[in-house]
């Protein structure tokens, strides 16, 4: 079997809303990913350092505080500086659509808002980290019908 997909789930800044991050982390684990969760109140520097140390395939940043236009670009910049600019930076939270588009133009991956299924997120990361951009794009646009094993079935 191929190496498991390794994802760093991170909470940046002062935001304490961790319900979504934990649910997504649990679903990814049940879908067979290796998940590293940073815990709360991380600086962009701490997150990128963890991403390098853990040799992850993707960084998934959860931001519900409205500070996404500050924190995503900073994490991206630091990832590039640390030589892991090719690692997927994705995430979710309360992020207006126009901000998602602006962040995508900077090089951030797809971002996910309220109401997204964990399956959609898992499919997207699976597609994007395998360099299968077509699949990644499709998964990002619409949740796949035949996703991986139901994320919840293992519990």
């Amino acid at each position: 079997m191929a190496r498991k997909i390794r994802v760093l789930v991170a909470k940046a800044g002062l935001d304490g809303h961790d319900r979504g991050a934990k649910v997504v982390a649990s679903a990814m684990r049940d879908a067979g990913f290796e998940v590293i969760y940073t815990g709360l109140h991380q600086t962009p520097e701490m997150i990128v350092q963890a991403a390098v140390q853990e040799d992850v395939d993707a960084v998934a940043l959860s931001i519900l505080s409205g500070a996404h236009m500050t924190l995503f670009p900073r994490v991206l910049e630091l990832m590039r500086a640390a030589g892991i600019g090719d690692v997927l930076l994705t995430g979710g939270g309360i992020i207006p659509k126009e901000d998602m588009a602006a962040l995508r133009r900077m090089g951030v991956g797809d971002l996910f808002g309220p109401g997204t299924t964990t399956t959609a997120i898992i499919d997207y990361i699976r597609g994007a980290t395998r360099g299968d951009t077509a699949a990644a794009g499709a998964a990002g646009q619409k949740p796949a019908r035949s996703g991986p094993a139901k994320a919840g079935s293992a519990r």
Binding site: G13, D15, K22, V23, S26, L40, Q141, P143, K150, R155
Partner: protein, 564 residues
């Protein structure tokens, strides 16, 4: 709209996020690849099974005793004999964004619209004890609430509002002692003594470690400072609620109604025990303890939760803690509709959700209520959305006839049976926490945190399997673009707030500040009640961040173990 033209709060139409919305086609999400619709769940949101019909035998004997009369022990039917006929609940809309000036304008607007109590939302740096110019505040100033760094901001926040004529709730926890002191200091400047001030400071640190996750120091010193406030307010602020023991955040983080009730009451027990350990008489402080419930979609279960909560607390206070004053037995509560139940998809639907939840809170006998705005899954509310939310309460109060009769569901076979069941299940949790050595131990072990995360995950999976329906999300989705205005926070606010706090540090009386800070630092090394020292520090314009830094230095910084 009075303030709609402000540049800092310009409203912009924005499109519904169809690309991120789970599939409009319900089959994709209903787990129904085989074409079958999943079986409906005949159970409450807490997982309590519900029967098709309830009969007299579903109500256990002894109902009269469990109910009591309205206004009498065990207060199942409500705290007052006539409830809303005599006095409606307080309509208290949570507001705060941008700078103190902006929020002050919103307060004036809401008061003019008939709101009867103020409720302040603070931004993340304020909640975490950082001044606007701290590195951790970068990008977060004024975004989720109002930015308060020093007494000067607080003076602006309440400008033109006589503090003896309103009651003010402040949603602040880790640095609550600083904000309480600032409020008292602003009142002093208005010539109003603390004993005339009415309101609430949330100051419930246990639920921060359990759910909301905004802290400065570890649990034990944090609780010590909460108890300092309870003690000081009992002596100096007879009309002030020194704590709001909050289930809201616990629920929003994913707890069920039963878990919300259980963990919140367990927190309440924790505070009472700490106060008693300090030698306070329970009747000295218990009448000023207040609570805060979430009110979610499961209509009957929510009503049952309010009723069961009052009964559990009354019994605990009288029988376990020996309180003699009937006011000590009363669980007084604020309620807020469930933010987590609102959807970014089809946001206008949220108006209906909020109305139904608000009705449950009123039928449950709440003392005050915040109704969420339809746009809160997208951003902080616009003035228009906040007005609709307030109007929803006014419609319940003045058009429906609901407030005319006290506890109208009493005697319902279903509701009485459900109230009993919610009480039993919550008490089972409370006993488990007692066995762990109390809530502080349980929190340090991460027990309620884990239970909540598990419930959140279970709920999400039920939604993804289509067993729980969320209208407009996993069923009845549509492709139509619905755009509602969204409040924007001008990044310029951060820069100006940084300038202001730096100017305050330059301008203040340095000698007075230094003395007050030294006194506070020394007091932190003792068991002394810190409130008077913090009060002196804020009077000397010590900033929120400076005082919080003293706490960090004296008590350490909390780091949560990263588990999921």
């Amino acid at each position: 709209m009075a303030n709609a033209a402000r540049t800092e709060t310009r409203t912009e139409p924005r499109k519904r996020e169809t690309s991120r919305a789970p599939a409009p086609d319900s089959a994709a999400l209903s787990g129904a690849e085989n074409g079958a619709t999943p079986a409906p769940l005949f159970e409450t949101l807490s997982g309590i099974p519900v029967k098709p019909v309830y009969l007299p035998e579903d109500v256990k004997p002894g109902l009269d005793e469990r109910l009591g009369e309205p206004g009498k022990f065990p207060f199942t039917r409500g705290l007052h004999p006539e409830m809303y006929r005599k006095r409606l609940w307080t309509m208290r809309q949570f507001a705060g964004f941008g700078s103190a000036e902006h929020t002050n304008q919103r307060f004036h607007y809401l008061l003019a619209q008939g709101m009867t109590g103020l409720s302040t939302a603070f931004d993340m740096p304020t909640l975490m004890g950082y001044d606007a110019d701290h590195a951790m505040s970068f990008g977060e100033v004024g975004r989720e609430g109002v930015a308060i760094s020093s007494l000067e901001d607080m003076e602006i926040l309440f400008r033109g509002i006589p503090l003896d004529q309103v009651t003010t709730s402040m949603t602040i926890n880790a640095p609550a002692v600083v904000l309480l002191a600032m409020y008292v200091a602003v009142a002093e400047k208005q010539g109003i003594p603390p004993e005339k001030l009415g309101g609430t400071v949330q100051a419930d640190m246990l639920k921060e470690f359990i759910a909301q996750k905004e802290w400065i120091c570890p649990p034990r010193p944090s609780v010590k400072i909460c108890v300092d406030m309870i003690e000081w307010c009992a002596k100096h602020m007879p009309k002030w609620n020194s704590i709001s023991i909050s289930g809201y955040h616990i629920r929003e983080a994913g707890a069920t109604a039963v878990q919300e009730l259980a963990f919140t009451i367990a927190d309440g027990i924790g505070y009472v025990e700490e106060c008693v350990k300090r030698g306070m008489d329970v009747d000295e402080f218990a009448p000023r303890l207040s609570f805060f419930w979430d009110v979610h979609n499961d209509f009957f279960e929510e009503i049952a939760k309010f009723r069961a909560g009052r009964r559990i607390w009354a019994k605990l206070m009288r029988d376990r803690f020996g309180a003699k004053n009937p006011r000590s037995w009363q669980l007084r509560t604020h309620a807020q509709t469930a933010g987590v139940s609102l959807t970014a998809q089809q946001p206008l639907n949220n108006v209906a959700r909020v109305a139904i939840q608000a009705l449950a809170a009123v039928l449950g006998g709440t003392q005050s209520l915040h109704t969420n705005s339809m746009d809160e899954t997208l951003a902080l509310p616009t003035e228009e959305a906040a007005t609709v939310a307030l109007r929803t309460q006014q419609i319940i109060a003045y058009e429906t006839g609901v407030p005319n009769v006290v506890d109208p569901f009493a005697g319902s076979y279903f509701l009485e049976s459900l109230t009993d069941r919610v009480e039993e299940e919550a008490m089972a949790y409370i006993r488990r926490i007692d066995e762990m050595g109390g809530i502080i131990h349980a929190v340090e072990r991460g027990y309620p945190q884990k239970e909540i995360a598990d419930s959140a995950y279970r709920f999400q999976m039920q939604v993804e399997e289509g067993r729980r329906v969320i209208v407009g999300v996993n069923r009845f989705g549509g492709e139509e673009e619905i755009s509602i205005p969204v409040l924007k926070i001008d990044p310029e606010i951060e820069r100006r707030q940084i300038e202001r706090v730096r100017a305050v540090r330059q301008r203040r009386d340095a000698a007075r500040w230094e003395q007050a800070m030294k006194d506070l630092r020394d007091a932190c090394r003792t068991d002394k009640n810190l409130v008077p020292y913090v009060l002196d520090a804020v009077r000397a314009y010590a900033t929120l961040g400076e005082i919080s830094d003293l706490f960090r230095e004296a008590f350490g910084v909390y780091r949560e173990p990263a588990v999921f």
